[in-house]
Amino acid sequence: MTDLSSAFSKAIKLLIDLEPALVEIVQLSLSVSLSAVLLASLIGMPLGAVLGLFRFPGRGVVVSILNALMGLPPVVAGLFIYLLLSRAGPLGEYGLLFTPAAMVIAQTLLVLPIVAALTRQTVVDLNDEYAEQLHSLRVGPFAMIATLLWEGRYSLLTAVLAGFGRAIAEVGAVIIVGGNINHVTRVMTTTIALETSKGDLDLALGLGMVLLLIVFTINGVALGAQHLARRGQA
């Protein structure tokens, strides 16, 4: 018990002192996950809007796959990207394995289905309401996508935050493709896993608190966004 409480107070001290080792890990975590969310949003929002607005052969299959991939286990995503990026893999020549770039790619794969599927649903709902009016205004297909994405901005923000929550908290994908290399690919979740198994609880606890804080903040922002969305619909 004294072990635990001393680890706890050490963890607090790490946070207050902004211990460089801890800061470095938090920074890498944030930059990897934010990059992944940015990439996933740039691809996923237009993809979701197209799937919601236009009919084409194979659309149902794509939508089903997308919905199923929302529950893609991170370790499987990690394994898949590992195979792609490994020396013998199709993208092996770029030497990306065990770099932050590989981690961004793996997390993008995890976040993309969430952003695309939620965007699709948002756009479908809005289109039911707006389709006639926008046709009446002779809004073309590209402008229509842009309009509906903007009209759904609060719902989409929620989707992006959900994606970020998944990325920042997952450990399976980043540990496989990143390798948890000190000062290179060590992020919050992988460090917590490693330090806990080594029995060094203070850094693990400190990072755990940062992670919790981030997750709470995301939830707060998401709630605020939903509140704004409701007010806009009144």
Binding site: Y130, S136, L137, T147, R153, R231, G232, Q233
Partner: protein, 255 residues
């Protein structure tokens, strides 16, 4: 009551020489849903100038007729012909206001500016058009408010202002006051009158006899998907030519 005075301000006529879209001719237009024929062999011509009211009980096919004219629906048979089909596709050709206003999740001004942008109105002209449309609707003081928190009447006035901001030659209104109380209805009707005075051709539907009497120059009387009677409004209300129209005017139409 300064706001009401603003709403009665006459919009400036801005008609320049544009290729005329009118007459709009419906030639044997039918519309079906499944096995049901909802509109049957409609032959009509809408000419410039007069305010045309499509009158009839609920379910007569008024909304369908308006949407077919506007191009939102395609007829199952027959054709809808503008005198200049190419010009009819221009953004300043025709606009429509729906029974339930569809407003974007933006400010009052944002809604009008959106229409101006997608209508390819030149950037330099937009501020003036915006102010003009806001004044017409009596919404100048509410320009910055979120559109979707306005009252029903204000929302419908905004929808009208947004449609009119593009200076369409032809404006379709589908039961614009069906969901409004008498005071809100009166203000929308005033707006319709102002828009009409700019020379905009208005084709509107209503089931409200009083409104038809107040606004119509000419009547298209629709019943059970067919045009029963057309003609000049005063004559229609004075001496309807058909039993059906007479029954409707007496409030004893059975359907």
């Amino acid at each position: 009551m300064t706001e009401s005075a603003v709403s009665r301000a006459q919009p400036t006529p801005t008609r320049t020489t544009r290729p005329s879209l009118l007459p709009l001719v419906l030639d044997g237009v039918s519309f079906t849903a499944g096995r049901q024929t909802l509109l049957n062999d409609v032959n009509l011509a809408f000419n410039a100038g007069a305010l045309s009211v499509v009158l009839g009980p609920n379910g007569a096919g008024k909304t369908l007729l308006i949407k077919l004219c506007h191009g939102l629906l395609r007829p199952a048979a027959g054709s809808v012909n503008w005198s200049d089909p190419a010009a009819a596709r221009r953004p300043d050709a025709q606009a429509m206001v729906f029974q339930r206003p569809v407003l974007l999740r933006r400010s009052v001004a944002g809604n009008i500016l959106y229409a101006l942008r997608v209508g390819r109105v030149k950037r330099a002209q937009r501020p003036a058009r915006l102010q003009e449309a806001l004044a017409l609707a009596g919404l100048s003081a509410m320009a910055a408010r979120p559109a979707r928190v306005l009252s029903g009447g204000e929302q419908q006035r905004l929808a009208l202002a947004r449609a009119w901001a593009l200076h369409p030659q032809v404006l379709f209104l589908d039961e614009p006051t069906a969901n409004l109380d008498p005071a809100a209805t009166r203000r929308v009707e005033e707006m319709v009158g102002s828009i009409r005075s700019t020379g905009t051709k208005i084709i509107m539907s209503t089931h409200d006899l009083g409104q038809a009497r107040r606004l119509a120059d000419e009547i298209v009387f629709l019943h059970q998907g067919s045009v029963v009677e057309t003609g000049e409004a005063a004559a229609f209300f004075e001496r309807p030519l058909t039993q059906t129209a007479a029954a409707f005017l007496d409030g004893r139409l059975l359907w």
